[in-house]
Assembly symmetry: C2
Homo-oligomer: 117 residues x 2
Protein backbone atom coordinates (compact mmCIF):
# COMPACT_ATOMS: atom_id res chain seq x y z
CA UNK A 1 0.00 0.00 0.00
CA UNK A 2 1.17 3.50 -0.78
CA UNK A 3 0.32 4.88 2.67
CA UNK A 4 2.58 2.31 4.33
CA UNK A 5 5.37 3.22 1.97
CA UNK A 6 5.05 6.90 2.77
CA UNK A 7 4.69 6.35 6.49
CA UNK A 8 7.81 4.19 6.53
CA UNK A 9 9.68 6.78 4.52
CA UNK A 10 8.90 9.43 7.13
CA UNK A 11 9.33 7.11 10.11
CA UNK A 12 13.05 7.58 10.35
CA UNK A 13 14.85 10.38 12.04
CA UNK A 14 17.21 11.59 9.35
CA UNK A 15 14.69 10.99 6.61
CA UNK A 16 12.07 13.08 8.38
CA UNK A 17 14.72 15.75 8.79
CA UNK A 18 15.52 15.60 5.11
CA UNK A 19 11.88 15.87 4.22
CA UNK A 20 11.31 18.81 6.54
CA UNK A 21 14.31 20.51 5.03
CA UNK A 22 12.92 19.95 1.55
CA UNK A 23 9.54 21.31 2.56
CA UNK A 24 11.25 24.35 3.99
CA UNK A 25 13.38 24.72 0.87
CA UNK A 26 10.26 25.14 -1.23
CA UNK A 27 9.42 24.08 -4.78
CA UNK A 28 12.90 25.01 -6.05
CA UNK A 29 14.33 22.27 -3.89
CA UNK A 30 17.90 21.65 -2.82
CA UNK A 31 20.91 19.88 -4.27
CA UNK A 32 21.69 16.51 -2.73
CA UNK A 33 25.15 17.70 -1.73
CA UNK A 34 23.78 20.72 0.06
CA UNK A 35 21.34 18.59 2.01
CA UNK A 36 24.19 16.33 3.02
CA UNK A 37 26.27 19.30 4.13
CA UNK A 38 23.45 20.93 6.10
CA UNK A 39 22.40 17.76 7.89
CA UNK A 40 25.86 16.26 8.24
CA UNK A 41 25.09 13.01 6.47
CA UNK A 42 27.56 11.26 4.17
CA UNK A 43 26.54 11.58 0.50
CA UNK A 44 26.03 7.89 -0.13
CA UNK A 45 23.90 7.43 2.97
CA UNK A 46 21.84 10.44 2.03
CA UNK A 47 21.45 9.11 -1.48
CA UNK A 48 19.89 5.94 -0.12
CA UNK A 49 17.54 7.95 2.04
CA UNK A 50 16.56 10.29 -0.77
CA UNK A 51 15.86 7.22 -2.81
CA UNK A 52 13.42 5.99 -0.19
CA UNK A 53 11.65 9.34 -0.15
CA UNK A 54 11.52 9.42 -3.94
CA UNK A 55 10.23 5.87 -4.10
CA UNK A 56 7.46 6.86 -1.73
CA UNK A 57 6.78 9.75 -4.07
CA UNK A 58 7.43 12.22 -1.29
CA UNK A 59 10.29 13.80 -3.19
CA UNK A 60 11.03 14.50 -6.83
CA UNK A 61 14.41 15.09 -8.40
CA UNK A 62 15.84 16.73 -11.47
CA UNK A 63 19.36 17.16 -12.72
CA UNK A 64 20.73 20.67 -12.93
CA UNK A 65 24.29 20.76 -14.14
CA UNK A 66 26.30 18.42 -11.99
CA UNK A 67 23.87 18.63 -9.13
CA UNK A 68 20.69 16.72 -8.62
CA UNK A 69 18.01 18.85 -7.08
CA UNK A 70 15.46 17.27 -4.78
CA UNK A 71 12.14 18.83 -3.92
CA UNK A 72 9.31 17.84 -1.63
CA UNK A 73 6.17 16.57 -3.29
CA UNK A 74 3.46 18.51 -1.54
CA UNK A 75 0.63 16.64 -3.20
CA UNK A 76 1.88 13.29 -1.94
CA UNK A 77 2.23 14.65 1.55
CA UNK A 78 -1.23 16.16 1.69
CA UNK A 79 -2.51 12.96 0.11
CA UNK A 80 -1.03 10.93 2.93
CA UNK A 81 -2.45 13.24 5.56
CA UNK A 82 -5.86 13.19 3.95
CA UNK A 83 -5.77 9.42 3.79
CA UNK A 84 -4.85 9.13 7.44
CA UNK A 85 -7.43 11.67 8.42
CA UNK A 86 -10.31 10.25 6.44
CA UNK A 87 -9.28 6.78 7.48
CA UNK A 88 -9.37 7.85 11.09
CA UNK A 89 -12.39 10.06 10.86
CA UNK A 90 -14.84 7.29 10.03
CA UNK A 91 -17.43 8.48 12.49
CA UNK A 92 -14.89 9.83 14.96
CA UNK A 93 -14.84 13.61 15.35
CA UNK A 94 -12.37 13.19 18.21
CA UNK A 95 -9.62 12.91 15.64
CA UNK A 96 -10.98 15.04 12.88
CA UNK A 97 -12.32 18.09 14.66
CA UNK A 98 -9.08 19.24 16.30
CA UNK A 99 -7.33 18.67 13.02
CA UNK A 100 -9.83 20.74 11.10
CA UNK A 101 -9.35 23.52 13.60
CA UNK A 102 -5.58 23.32 13.33
CA UNK A 103 -5.72 23.19 9.57
CA UNK A 104 -7.83 26.31 9.26
CA UNK A 105 -5.87 28.02 12.01
CA UNK A 106 -2.56 27.29 10.31
CA UNK A 107 -0.82 30.37 9.02
CA UNK A 108 -0.46 29.01 5.53
CA UNK A 109 -4.12 28.38 4.96
CA UNK A 110 -5.57 31.46 3.36
CA UNK A 111 -9.23 30.43 3.30
CA UNK A 112 -12.01 31.91 5.41
CA UNK A 113 -9.63 34.18 7.22
CA UNK A 114 -12.46 36.32 8.43
CA UNK A 115 -14.12 33.70 10.58
CA UNK A 116 -12.53 33.37 13.99
CA UNK A 117 -14.52 31.98 16.88
Amino acid sequence: MTAIKRLSALAQESRLEVFRLLVKAGPNGMAAGEIARVLGITPNTLSAQLNVLANADLATNRREGRSIIYAANYDAMSGLLIYLMEDCCQGHPEVCAPLAQAATRAACCDQTEGALS
Copy 2:
Protein backbone atom coordinates in the same frame (compact mmCIF):
# COMPACT_ATOMS: atom_id res chain seq x y z
CA MET B 1 11.05 11.76 18.99
CA THR B 2 7.43 10.85 19.56
CA ALA B 3 6.38 11.51 15.96
CA ILE B 4 8.91 8.99 14.67
CA LYS B 5 7.63 6.44 17.15
CA ARG B 6 4.05 6.93 16.05
CA LEU B 7 4.89 6.96 12.38
CA SER B 8 6.84 3.71 12.73
CA ALA B 9 3.98 2.18 14.65
CA LEU B 10 1.60 2.92 11.80
CA ALA B 11 4.09 2.13 9.05
CA GLN B 12 3.37 -1.57 9.03
CA GLU B 13 0.56 -3.31 7.26
CA SER B 14 -0.99 -5.38 10.02
CA ARG B 15 -0.40 -2.70 12.60
CA LEU B 16 -2.14 -0.09 10.49
CA GLU B 17 -4.99 -2.58 10.05
CA VAL B 18 -5.15 -3.09 13.79
CA PHE B 19 -5.22 0.62 14.39
CA ARG B 20 -7.93 1.20 11.81
CA LEU B 21 -9.96 -1.56 13.38
CA LEU B 22 -9.57 0.05 16.80
CA VAL B 23 -10.60 3.44 15.44
CA LYS B 24 -13.64 1.82 13.91
CA ALA B 25 -14.39 -0.03 17.12
CA GLY B 26 -14.74 3.26 18.95
CA PRO B 27 -13.90 4.27 22.52
CA ASN B 28 -15.17 0.97 23.93
CA GLY B 29 -12.39 -0.80 22.11
CA MET B 30 -11.94 -4.47 21.34
CA ALA B 31 -10.51 -7.48 23.11
CA ALA B 32 -7.10 -8.60 21.92
CA GLY B 33 -8.46 -12.02 21.07
CA GLU B 34 -11.23 -10.59 18.94
CA ILE B 35 -8.79 -8.44 17.02
CA ALA B 36 -6.65 -11.50 16.39
CA ARG B 37 -9.66 -13.45 15.18
CA VAL B 38 -10.93 -10.71 12.90
CA LEU B 39 -7.56 -10.01 11.32
CA GLY B 40 -6.31 -13.58 11.31
CA ILE B 41 -3.15 -12.89 13.30
CA THR B 42 -1.76 -15.29 15.90
CA PRO B 43 -2.32 -14.00 19.43
CA ASN B 44 1.33 -13.69 20.37
CA THR B 45 2.24 -11.84 17.20
CA LEU B 46 -0.69 -9.51 17.72
CA SER B 47 0.38 -8.95 21.29
CA ALA B 48 3.75 -7.70 20.09
CA GLN B 49 2.09 -5.39 17.61
CA LEU B 50 -0.38 -4.05 20.13
CA ASN B 51 2.56 -3.39 22.36
CA VAL B 52 4.16 -1.25 19.69
CA LEU B 53 0.95 0.73 19.25
CA ALA B 54 0.59 1.14 23.00
CA ASN B 55 4.21 2.22 23.35
CA ALA B 56 3.59 4.85 20.73
CA ASP B 57 0.59 5.91 22.78
CA LEU B 58 -1.69 5.21 19.85
CA ALA B 59 -3.62 2.59 21.83
CA THR B 60 -4.63 2.19 25.43
CA ASN B 61 -5.59 -1.02 27.17
CA ARG B 62 -7.58 -2.10 30.18
CA ARG B 63 -8.37 -5.47 31.63
CA GLU B 64 -11.97 -6.58 31.65
CA GLY B 65 -12.46 -10.02 33.07
CA ARG B 66 -10.12 -12.34 31.26
CA SER B 67 -9.87 -10.11 28.26
CA ILE B 68 -7.68 -7.13 27.69
CA ILE B 69 -9.48 -4.44 25.79
CA TYR B 70 -7.56 -2.18 23.47
CA ALA B 71 -8.82 1.17 22.27
CA ALA B 72 -7.45 3.75 19.87
CA ASN B 73 -6.08 6.92 21.40
CA TYR B 74 -7.69 9.60 19.31
CA ASP B 75 -5.75 12.42 20.92
CA ALA B 76 -2.44 10.86 20.02
CA MET B 77 -3.55 10.35 16.46
CA SER B 78 -4.80 13.87 15.96
CA GLY B 79 -1.63 15.06 17.69
CA LEU B 80 0.48 13.24 15.15
CA LEU B 81 -1.53 14.59 12.24
CA ILE B 82 -1.35 18.11 13.60
CA TYR B 83 2.39 17.79 14.07
CA LEU B 84 2.88 16.58 10.52
CA MET B 85 0.62 19.23 9.16
CA GLU B 86 2.09 22.16 11.01
CA ASP B 87 5.55 20.82 10.32
CA CYS B 88 4.76 20.70 6.64
CA CYS B 89 2.76 23.88 6.47
CA GLN B 90 5.62 26.20 7.34
CA GLY B 91 4.80 28.65 4.62
CA HIS B 92 3.46 26.04 2.25
CA PRO B 93 -0.28 26.20 1.61
CA GLU B 94 0.15 23.50 -1.03
CA VAL B 95 0.03 20.93 1.74
CA CYS B 96 -2.18 22.64 4.22
CA ALA B 97 -4.98 24.02 2.12
CA PRO B 98 -6.26 20.74 0.63
CA LEU B 99 -6.05 19.23 4.07
CA ALA B 100 -8.06 22.00 5.64
CA GLN B 101 -10.69 21.50 2.96
CA ALA B 102 -10.76 17.75 3.52
CA ALA B 103 -10.91 18.19 7.26
CA THR B 104 -13.88 20.50 7.17
CA ARG B 105 -15.51 18.46 4.43
CA ALA B 106 -15.14 15.25 6.41
CA ALA B 107 -18.46 13.80 7.52
CA CYS B 108 -17.42 13.58 11.12
CA CYS B 109 -16.55 17.23 11.50
CA ASP B 110 -19.63 18.94 12.76
CA GLN B 111 -18.41 22.53 12.56
CA THR B 112 -19.63 25.14 10.12
CA GLU B 113 -21.95 22.72 8.41
CA GLY B 114 -23.85 25.52 6.79
CA ALA B 115 -21.01 26.74 4.60
CA LEU B 116 -20.68 24.80 1.42
CA SER B 117 -19.00 26.36 -1.60
